[in-house]
Amino acid sequence: MRLMQAALVAFLILGLAACQKKQTRPDEQGPAATAPAGDATTGGVDGTTGQPAADMQTAQQQALAALKTRSVIYFDYDSSEIRSEYLQVVAAHAAYLVKYPNARVRLEGHTDERGSREYNIGLGERRAQAVRRALQLQGATEAQIATVSYGEERPAVAGSGESAYTQNRRVEIVHAP
């Protein structure tokens, strides 16, 4: 407990210093980036010196924004195997979760429209679980990941045919705001 308090005090002081340094670039190795993320959030909300938390969040938000451009993993027909071209996408999200232990993701599994609806809920779940396992193998914790399967109920695009099907068989990695 003493250690944590000391860390918090040190963090707040460093944070004040950061404030006086004008705005640090988000990708700079600022103090906020190395501070424990959980404490930083608390400090930002409760403390009068909200600026360091804001800096940290900016860094995290930037990392998140970069991830969001690659947050959908597509699957082959009747398969829950992550294709090799998506391994890097999974690795990037895993790295983010490892770096920000306070971060949370929701894996939304989907299928194309073919076949029975409740059975497709099962297929969507299997895809979400495959991505969950991959993230955990790379260091994300169970508590960081929630899964949901929508089966064929929430297609990304309308219509029948292979082009719609390939876009609808997917897991969307949704990061908590």
Binding site: G115, E118, E125, V148, S160
Partner: protein, 437 residues
Amino acid sequence: MTPKPTPRVLDFVRMLPLLLGLVTPAHAQLRLDITKGVSDAVPIAVVPFGGQAEGGSSDVAAVVGSDLERSGRFAPMARTDMVTRPVRGDQIRFEDWRLLKSDFIVVGQVGPGASGLLARFELFNVATGQQLLAKELATTEAGLRATAHAISDLVFERLTGVRGAFATRLAYVAVEGAPPSQHYKLIVSDADGFNPRTVANSPEPLMSPAWSPDGQLLAYVSFEGKASAIYVQQLSSGKRSRVSARAGINGAPAWSPDGHKLALTLSRGGNLDVYVLTLASQTLTRVTSDEAIDTEPEWSRDGGSLYFTSDRAGSAQIYRVSADEGARAERVTFTGGYNARPRLSPDGDELAMVTLDRGSYRIAVMNLKTGALRVLSSSTQDESPSYAPNGVTLIYGTQDGRRGALATVSADGRSQQRLSADSGEVREPAWSPFLSR
């Protein structure tokens, strides 16, 4: 009426019975098209009833004619071919109707009753002139369609020996808007698609409506809390309760024949298995425990076992298991590479399912004694079969162009109709049980 889930979801859930209690008329009126008729359907004349203007939505004879035609077993005579309009048995000149080649004739009239209206009708055999039925039914102006369906039921039963299922209801899911932002409604209508009423309404998916055996309650899956949960809703009051919102999937509710239990699918540990939930005690019994997807349970008629879909052998097939903990499942379907979503016929002799038939998903019926499978539908994306309570007809989800629509097919496959909405998609039809007369 469509609040988005917020952090105050609990408040919202508590308010829902109030919101849902105000059952709203839905606009998704279904339109009926007969897509496959029967050449040897029995000709019958349903003469416009006395005391009624012809052509309105409460035209009793028109409703009865449409019901009988929809069964695939009768071919009602066109009104333009009728040379006279008898409204009582003693006004019928049978020789005229013999010339018009009608085997049976229904006549009747609507008039003032002791309170409200009284509908009288008679059914005759044209060849012999024998009166087969004569009844009086008390009704109201607003109840005329329901009375017409009751007349259809009586005529159908008198002529076929099978109880009619016209005075029943459908539950189905209607979807409006384009992906990725769609709106979902759970609708209950008459069996002919009339009188649609929205009973639940959500910006998140609604799925898998299931009627309780007494026809008073609907169980269904809702994602309104951003995860699936099973609700049971009383149709008369709109009151509902959330009966399963366990971590992971809560899906595929199916009522036990006695109405005390729900079979359902849960995904504890990320894998789908079939469970039985006793509603009064909230006791949960695990029925399957396989690594595979086990889902879509359906009770046997005696309530002792469950049919379900599983891909434990590599592809989706149907299995049967005793509804006890740890029982061993036996495989039921062996024909084809995909059989899912079992639904038992009311007499328990046949199992309807979705089958992969030469590259298309179609509705098939399997005779449980012989194992013979016959494919009933002919589209490419047919799903969600549901039997009428008399077993004569099945309703299922299909596609009309590229939109979801409903279709019916007689259990012998000989007659088919399509029910499509004016706008949006409709799917997952569930036919109600017989409702009290």
